[in-house]
């Protein structure tokens, strides 16, 4: 049992430790840093595989371009939401921020899938779908670790929410980056594989990242 005197002495003791602290950067600025990291990886992949293949695919199927851009937008929005959710007192509405771009991403992917069904004569861009899953999961791991490390300096009071946003940010970044060099197929199996990969990354992050980000 405590008493007011012990609270006063605790305040005095904490006051004696009032050293200057380095403030956490705002969620927007940290999200900008995250965007720079993703842009750097994209720049490397473009340098490695060239722009031509991707532009050709985008011209042949604009929905693929829309899907890729929406994936990048989701990656930035989800990263921003994760940074914001890691600050005490932030609104849970931040979880809705990546929703519009996520819907566009899923919608354009689904539209591509429908186009393929409606016009089966269109040239298939098929490659083994398992590659997508492996790439998205493999690249999501270091990206998720990076985001978790960045978030650990904050204080997420609802770590599972923040970790789920980390999962979405890293999975969407990986899916967007995949499109730079990988001829994405608009078939249902490929779309399903993408969804499985993204859900897997979000689920693992929510389960493990939630524990790693647990308030001390």
């Amino acid at each position: 049992m405590s008493d007011p005197a012990s609270i006063d002495s605790l305040i005095k003791s904490l006051g004696a430790q009032a050293a200057p602290v380095r403030r956490l950067l705002s969620p927007g600025r940290r999200a900008a840093g995250w965007a720079v990291v993703v842009a750097a990886i994209a720049a490397y992949l473009l340098w490695r595989y060239g722009l031509g293949g991707m532009m050709e695919r985008w011209e042949r199927a604009p929905d693929v371009a829309c899907s890729a851009l929406a994936a990048f937008a989701t990656c930035i929005a989800a990263g921003w939401a994760a940074f914001a959710l890691a600050v005490p007192g932030s609104s849970r509405a931040w979880m809705l921020v990546p929703l519009p771009s996520l819907l566009v991403w899923l919608g354009s992917s689904g539209w591509g899938c429908m186009r393929y069904w409606l016009t089966p004569d269109s040239a298939p861009l098929s490659v083994p779908s398992a590659d997508c899953l492996v790439f998205i999961v493999a690249l999501s791991v270091p990206l998720s670790i990076l985001l978790i490390v960045l978030l650990r300096r904050a204080f997420p009071l609802h770590p599972v929410r923040a970790a789920a946003m980390i999962g979405l940010a890293s999975a969407s970044a990986s899916a967007g980056l995949l499109g730079i060099f990988h001829p994405i197929d608009a078939s249902a199996s490929d779309l399903a594989m993408h969804v499985v990969a993204v859900l897997l990354v979000i689920g693992v992050n929510a389960a493990m990242g939630g524990r790693l980000l647990q308030p001390r």
């Binding site: 605790l10 904490l14 006051g15 009032a18 380095r22 600050v87 005490p88 007192g89 300096r153 904050a154």
Partner: protein
């Protein structure tokens, strides 16, 4: 060292505090006063982040009422509020770098206090659940009224009495006064006429001797 920001915020709280207390015609609960108090706490916390001790102590002291209110709302019992206050203050200290002076301090604090109140209720819920089983455990404990156990305890007490009686007079006196009769050092010194240093030495030697005689240890 006070930075420009710190100096500015010190100015703010020196300016704000008397005004808030001298407004006798305005109720303490009016939105304006509440808003002023919230702004004042934000300014203090910003200064505290820059290392201003006075501002830090003020904002912590000013936060106690808010933390209590949040804890009460979460269902924490009145006699446990101070525990939640202490836990919250310690957390505030550890994560004070996460406060953004552009955002309301009260919302930031309330979120931390809510979390600590929930943590308290969870941990004490578990503790209370364990406590429920304790009387049963005592009742079922095989040694509670065990005649053999009682005899053993009586024998141990007799051995201890004999060992104390065999101690040299100075050591016996120290253990009786400080150990058995639980007098303070000052009281024991007054009763025996010995100084406290000698009593402490004798007590230490007596405990060592008893340990050797009863357990055979060093």
């Amino acid at each position: 060292m006070a930075s420009l920001t710190t100096a500015g915020t010190i100015g703010l709280y020196i300016d704000f505090a008397p005004r808030a207390s001298s407004r006798t015609r305005v109720s303490a609960d009016t939105p304006t006063t509440q808003e002023q108090a919230s702004q004042r706490r934000s300014a203090w916390m910003a200064a505290a982040q820059d290392g201003d001790r006075r501002a830090y102590e003020r904002v912590l002291a000013d936060s106690v009422g808010l933390i209590r209110a949040v804890a009460r709302r979460q269902g924490v019992a009145v006699d446990a509020l101070d525990d939640v206050v202490q836990e919250t203050l310690l957390t505030v200290h550890r994560v004070r770098h996460t406060y953004d002076p552009a955002r309301p301090y009260d919302a930031w604090l309330a979120a931390i206090a809510t979390r600590r109140a929930i943590d308290y209720l969870r941990s004490h819920g578990r503790h209370d659940a364990r406590e429920i089983h304790d009387p049963l455990a005592v009742e079922l404990h095989p040694d509670a009224d065990d005649a053999a156990g009682e005899t053993e305890r009586a024998q141990e007490a007799a051995r201890l009495r004999r060992a104390v009686a065999e101690l040299p007079p100075g050591q016996r006196e120290a253990i009786e006064q400080l150990g058995l009769q639980e007098h303070s050092l000052a009281e024991a010194a007054e009763r025996t006429g010995r100084n406290t240093g000698a009593l402490k030495v004798n007590l230490h030697r007596a405990l060592k001797t008893l340990r050797q005689r009863l357990h055979g240890g060093s």
